[in-house]
């Protein structure tokens, strides 16, 4: 490797990282679907997928093949370019945000941090920005389908996502204030001191912010109880009513990729990221491989539990009505989020 320049090494390793993370994320998306179906099944007195492979583990593969082989319908009255563009926007925005997530401890190989595609000093804002671009996928899909249900669904989705983005962003301000940085690594480091007790969720006093984030995140990802845009009992399937085959699959994957992103952000911001929940109680691993893998294990575990929470909520609660959703977001979450910011900054100011 010595004949390569630093930049070339950086480039090669970056492409490698991107490829690996992309593959892992897409696999994770597929298996999140399976996880949801299994878990939901168990909560509802049924088995969930159990026929394809052991414990239904090959179900995502079968689903993928099925979706690939389906006929790709193109509605006659649709706005063709936008109709095709919309799922691409949705999926790519959902996947890009993973790029700034640090999912392990800093581990450098040839000067390149291996467990973080890019360590940006405004990582959090990048995630928020990309999420806000993802709205176009939904908005355009509904409009370009030229279907009334799709239009209604996308109107609902767009207004919901814009409204809850405010509460979401404001709920994160407390965390940012505590960390004094928008860089995700800094935010994680600010909670790494004493394991569980220095997490923003517990020790950091950001528990209110966490719940605001939780609700806003459910709304952002259009999941129950905020799944109005695709409320099958009202709008058939919402904005992706007209989509079939891989274009539908892209929306589907985008939804689950968004769930994973949201879970990652929650982990980073409130649950101490890749740090151990036991702080210094566990002995520092001596082997460098374990030292590299253990944080990833914690990270994945936290993301996994957050996803399970997501699914649990879906199995439990009914759906909001549109006006109730709006008043909940604007009249409850937003003021509480602002109060939380004021309280947090007062505490920080008084402590010096």
């Amino acid at each position: 490797m010595s004949h390569l320049t630093d930049f070339q090494i950086f480039l090669i390793l970056s492409i490698l990282k991107i490829a690996v993370v992309l593959v892992i994320t897409l696999t994770a998306v597929a298996y999140t679907v399976l996880l949801e179906r299994k878990l939901l099944g168990r909560m509802q007195n049924r088995w969930g997928p159990s026929r394809v492979g052991p414990f239904g583990l090959l179900q995502p593969l079968a689903d993928g093949i099925k979706l690939f082989l389906k006929e790709d319908l193109m509605p006659m009255a649709s706005e063709r370019p936008l109709f095709i563009l919309a799922p691409i926007i949705a999926l790519s925005c959902a996947l890009i945000s993973v790029a700034v997530v640090p999912f392990g401890a800093v581990t450098r190989i040839a000067g390149v941090d291996m467990f973080d595609i890019s360590d940006i000093n405004i990582g959090l804002l990048v995630i928020l920005g990309i999420t806000s671009i993802g709205v176009y996928g939904i908005a355009l899909s509904g409009w370009s389908s030229n279907n009334k249900f799709a239009l209604l669904g996308s109107l609902r989705a767009t207004s919901q996502v814009i409204s809850y983005e405010l509460a979401l962003g404001l709920s994160l301000v407390g965390v940012v204030l505590r960390a004094g940085s928008l860089r995700l690594r800094d935010i994680v480091d600010s909670q790494a001191g004493h394991g569980l007790f220095s997490w923003n969720l517990i020790g950091g006093g950001q528990i209110i912010a966490f719940f605001i984030y939780l609700m806003a995140a459910y709304a952002e990802t259009n999941r129950a109880p905020f799944d109005l845009p695709e409320a099958e009992s009202e709008l058939v399937a919402g904005y992706h009513t007209e989509y079939s085959s891989m274009k539908f699959a892209m929306f589907f994957m985008a939804e689950y990729a968004n769930m994973i992103t949201v879970a990652c952000v929650a982990t980073l911001l409130f649950l101490g990221g890749a740090s151990s929940p036991f702080g210094n109680l566990l002995p520092t691993p001596t082997s460098p491989i374990i030292a590299a893998i253990l944080p990833i294990f914690w990270f994945v575990l936290k993301v996994f539990s957050f996803l399970c929470l997501y699914i649990w909520v879906r199995a439990t609660v009914p759906r909001f009505r549109y006006d109730q959703l709006m008043s909940f977001g604007w009249k409850f979450l937003l003021p509480v989020a602002i109060l939380n910011i004021i309280a947090t900054s007062l505490v920080l100011a008084l402590r010096g």
Binding site: I133, A139, L140, W143, L151, L155, I162
Partner: protein
């Protein structure tokens, strides 16, 4: 690298802007405008103003333009009819635009030094804190104008609500 980014996204911004003018369907124009906004964000970033870039994306592309698209969708605006425009625009517009373009280029090229320069190296290596600087300016040095602006926006919002409210 920076030059490459500048050329790519600068061209993209210009192309988007031209497309914005030429497209006949309002939603396509709105989308071109988003491309312009995003390219500008990248340009900001390459100049070391990453916070500004993020704000540009979140506020302009993520919120303002979504509302534009929203309105276009709701109003169901169809394709615009092509008009010949007013004759005055042809006679006065083209020479006027050329004149302004020349004037601006002249000013920028001759007085380039007077605009000062940014501390690009420190910004790109993150040694100076961009956000801290912006907040210093916004919330300490220019607090009063900042608050006055927000009141102004509030007034505008209230005005919009009053105008849009249905008569009971």
């Amino acid at each position: 690298m920076q030059l490459a980014l500048f050329i790519i996204f600068g061209l993209l911004a210009v192309a988007g802007a031209i497309n914005f003018l030429l497209q006949r369907h309002p939603i396509n124009s709105a989308l071109s405008l988003i491309v312009v906004m995003m390219s500008l964000a990248v340009l900001y970033w390459s100049l070391g103003a990453e916070f500004l870039a993020a704000a540009q994306v979140i506020v302009y592309s993520g919120a303002v333009m979504v509302l534009f698209v929203f309105v276009v969708m709701l109003l169901n605006a169809g394709e615009e009819e092509r008009t010949h425009g007013s004759r005055a625009a042809y006679f006065a517009g083209i020479p006027g635009a050329t004149a302004i373009f020349c004037l601006l280029s002249f000013v920028f090229l001759t007085n380039g030094k007077a605009f000062g320069s940014t501390d690009l190296i420190n910004h790109l290596t993150h040694t100076t804190n961009n956000i801290a600087e912006i907040s210093q300016v916004l919330f300490r040095d220019l607090l009063l104008p900042f608050e006055v602006t927000s009141v102004l926006i509030l007034v505008a919002i209230l005005g919009a609500v009053v105008l849009a409210r249905k008569e009971q």
